[in-house]
């Protein structure tokens, strides 16, 4: 009886599965999306508030140009760049383009490495 009651263990999954670039590209799309859910509405609100009043404009600009504001702006741009480029990649797959095995792997590489390049470039320029 006790033998029968014993439940078979579940074989390990996430803890042992090897990370492939396509898997990373997918989870990074999700992570950047969750991050943008907070920053895009906030920045949209900030920009509108800045457009509506002179005092808010001055305070908003002061905050944006401060180190924390600059960092938030940089990180949002990087997350947005990734989410958009990988989003285009997903949209192309949806309409049935670039969906060979090779193209799927290559496009993941392009998306991830172009985001790294963009992040560095923006860090210098901003």
């Amino acid at each position: 009886m006790s033998q029968k009651m014993k439940q078979s263990p579940l074989s390990p999954r996430l803890s042992i599965y090897k990370w492939r670039l396509t898997m990373f590209a997918s989870i990074a799309h999700r992570a950047s999306g969750v991050f943008l859910v907070f920053t895009i509405p906030a920045l949209f609100w900030l920009l509108l508030s800045m457009a509506h009043g002179k005092i808010t404009y001055a305070y908003g600009l002061h905050w944006l140009q401060g180190s924390f504001g600059t960092f938030v702006l940089w990180l949002t741009c990087v997350a947005l760049f990734y989410h958009m480029v990988n989003g285009i990649r997903f949209l192309l797959l949806d309409i049935g383009k670039t969906d060979s095995r090779e193209a799927m792997k290559l496009s993941a590489k392009i998306v991830v490495f172009s985001t790294i390049a963009f992040a560095l470039l923006l860090a210098i320029k901003i």
Partner: protein, 236 residues
């Protein structure tokens, strides 16, 4: 003195073990091109006869020895030892109830396969001989018919890990697409009705582990996108 390769193998015996554990073995590399299944056979025949795993044809046709090899799913019989970084970690297919050692309970996987009704449904009367297809119609099945249902793709899919009770998984969906594409099948409408579900189909988030894992180099991600496009065509 021949070269030796180290393996770490997932062990679990429901009669004596409380918990699964990893056990190390050393196996001589006898010939170049030696496959992982050869190493498992060596252990079973010369070191530890209690090691349990499935295998049948030994050449990538039957789909019995799907395993998680160094973190990626694949078939033991066609995966060469040479390309693998030692110690080679061999585990059962992920997210499955372990029956013993590397043998997992595949019932749920095949139940999901049954859900997509993997047989020809035709309205036309049974012909005297076979139902004919043109070469073009037959070519539509390329990339689908090669699937051997080894389970490497479905058990590599995180969406299936989290929602495998409902999400049909890459293998069943690739097969569903195979019947949607078959010129002899007349049940496309009912098949799409059955698939149009937030959990059965739309859990696929283009993670593409299935495509990376498939030992037959098929592309279940593309097959799932084909189904989604068929649904758009029907609805919009």
């Amino acid at each position: 003195m021949s070269e030796k390769v180290k393996l770490e193998i997932y062990r679990y015996n429901p009669e004596s073990d409380d918990k699964p554990y990893m056990q190390s073995f050393e196996v001589p590399v006898e010939k170049s091109g030696m496959k992982l299944l050869d190493a498992l056979n060596y252990i079973k025949w010369h070191i530890d006869g209690s090691l349990t795993y499935r295998r049948s044809c030994g050449e990538g046709v039957c789909g019995s020895d799907g395993l998680n090899i160094n973190g990626v799913n694949g078939l033991g019989c066609i995966t060469a030892i040479e390309g693998l970084k030692p110690p080679i970690k061999v585990r059962p297919l992920p997210n499955m109830p372990v029956t013993r050692d590397l043998v997992v309970d595949m019932n749920h996987f095949f139940d999901q396969y049954k859900q997509i009704k993997p047989w020809l449904q035709s309205n036309t009367p049974k012909p005297e001989h076979e139902r004919l297809q043109s070469p073009v119609e037959r070519a539509e099945l390329d990339g689908s018919y090669e699937c051997i249902l080894c389970g490497c793709c479905t058990t590599s899919c995180p969406s299936w890990w989290w929602n495998g009770d409902k999400f049909l998984g890459p293998a069943a969906l690739l097969q569903a697409n195979r019947w949607l594409k078959d010129s002899r099948d007349d049940a496309a409408g009912e098949r799409l009705d059955m698939l149009e579900d937030s959990f059965k189909l739309y859990r696929c988030h283009q993670i593409m582990n299935c495509m990376e894992a498939c030992p037959k180099e098929l592309n279940p991600t593309k097959a799932i996108n084909d189904i989604k496009r068929a649904l758009v065509k029907r609805k919009v």
